[in-house]
């Protein structure tokens, strides 16, 4: 008789991500992408409405500036921040840059990303006449 009897410990298929804090952080990142996607969809709808004429555009504007629209955008902004920071943190792992015998330090790559983000944001704000 085979004396071996390996024991397999059960894993929950539906709540595994609650078992460790690093899985929760990961899930937060994944969920944040949902909000970023909805935000982008609203923006695209706005572009379509703009093409449809002034009344349609005004309707869209009224919707996004309504209390619900503002609350959604505030929440989406927080999730966009979470999404951005968690992605930027992971970039040096996915993007390994080698110069001669040296690997470019991750801090530099992350810093460059924040630099570009700041520059683009400033540009957009100036364009919008806010800054």
């Amino acid at each position: 008789m085979n004396p071996r009897k390996p024991y397999v410990r059960p894993i929950s298929k539906t709540s595994w991500f609650m078992t460790q804090s690093r899985y929760k952080v990961y899930m937060l990142h994944e969920i944040s992408s949902l909000f970023v996607a909805i935000y982008s969809a609203i923006l695209i709808i706005g572009l379509v409405r703009l093409g449809e004429g002034e009344a349609a555009w005004q309707g869209w504007l009224d919707a996004v500036t309504s209390p619900i629209g503002v609350i959604f955008h505030l929440i989406a902004f927080v999730f966009a921040l979470i999404h951005t920071t968690s992605w930027f943190k992971a970039v040096p792992q996915a993007m390994r840059i080698q110069r001669g015998e040296e690997i470019v330090p991750g801090k530099l790559i992350v810093g460059a990303h924040y630099g570009v983000l700041a520059a683009v944001s400033l540009f957009v704000l100036i364009l919008a006449g806010v800054a």
Binding site: P3, W16, A90, Q93, A94, M95, E102
Partner: protein, 247 residues
């Protein structure tokens, strides 16, 4: 040298008599500079000869002492008791693997996966001994050196949720090793490895949780290796649309 008593809660499983694992607590008189492995060795030598666990080098080289220590996959020879001030330490076999006995897990699945990625150089050009060695510059070595440091301790598999949910996933260490050979300037085996590496169970199964790299005791960064491999495949795919591209 000062001594302190540690309560070691060890998950035990003896297949010939237990239906399922259970915790057994040992009160172990420990020296201050000990690691968890020293405490286990004390139990084995002085208290309970039936306890089973793997170890060999006691210096983070062999990779055989990976186990869950207070829920984190660690090398028992690298887990210092002074980092557990409560005096109570829970030791379990690596998660995501079947338990063979006590702290010993079944490794067959990993060994098969390791073999499947062809972890050896498939040379660009066959050279005879007379033709001499394959040359490589320090910069070429640097491109993959980090990924050679893996000691197959499997801490990364124990924390990878994708492997836990679906063991068909090739997993972090094997994919990092495939990347190590793909990045080697002497190697031309990437296409041969892609059957396994670029399959759905390969790199694309990884969702970049990054947990593997956080626990790796050798800083191999398997998560990074896998994302870089995905990136390389993405570029291949895009350039395949260019004139002269291979599709």
């Amino acid at each position: 040298m000062s001594e302190r008593t540690i309560e070691l809660e060890v998950l035990r499983y003896r297949p010939e008599q237990d239906q399922e694992p259970f915790f057994q607590t040992y009160k172990v008189p420990c020296e201050e500079e000990w690691v968890v492995l020293d405490a286990l060795n004390y139990v084995k030598e002085e208290m309970d000869r039936t306890l089973s666990y793997r170890w060999s080098c006691h210096m983070f080289v062999c990779g055989s002492c990976g186990m869950m220590i207070d829920g984190e996959p660690k090398l028992a020879c690298k887990a210092f008791l002074k980092d557990y001030p409560t005096g109570k330490i829970r030791v379990e076999p690596l998660s995501n693997f079947p338990i063979e006995r006590d702290l010993v897990v079944v490794l067959d699945d990993f060994v098969e996966k390791l073999e499947s990625v062809k972890p050896y150089i498939i040379p660009k050009e066959e050279r005879t001994v007379e033709q001499g060695e394959y040359l490589q510059t320090p910069a070429q070595l640097k491109a993959f050196k980090q990924y050679t440091l893996c000691i197959n301790c499997l801490c990364c598999y124990a924390v990878c949720p994708q492997y836990g949910l679906d063991e068909s996933f090739v997993g972090p260490a094997a994919l990092a090793l495939a990347h190590r050979y793909n990045m080697d300037s002497r190697d031309l085996g990437r296409a041969a490895r892609d059957d396994v590496v670029a399959a759905a169970e390969g790199i694309w199964h990884c969702s970049f949780v990054g947990a593997c790299s956080q626990v790796c005791p050798k800083d191999v960064d398997p998560a990074g290796a896998i994302q870089q491999a995905k990136f390389a495949h993405g570029i291949d795919y895009l350039t395949s649309f260019l004139p002269g591209g291979k599709r």
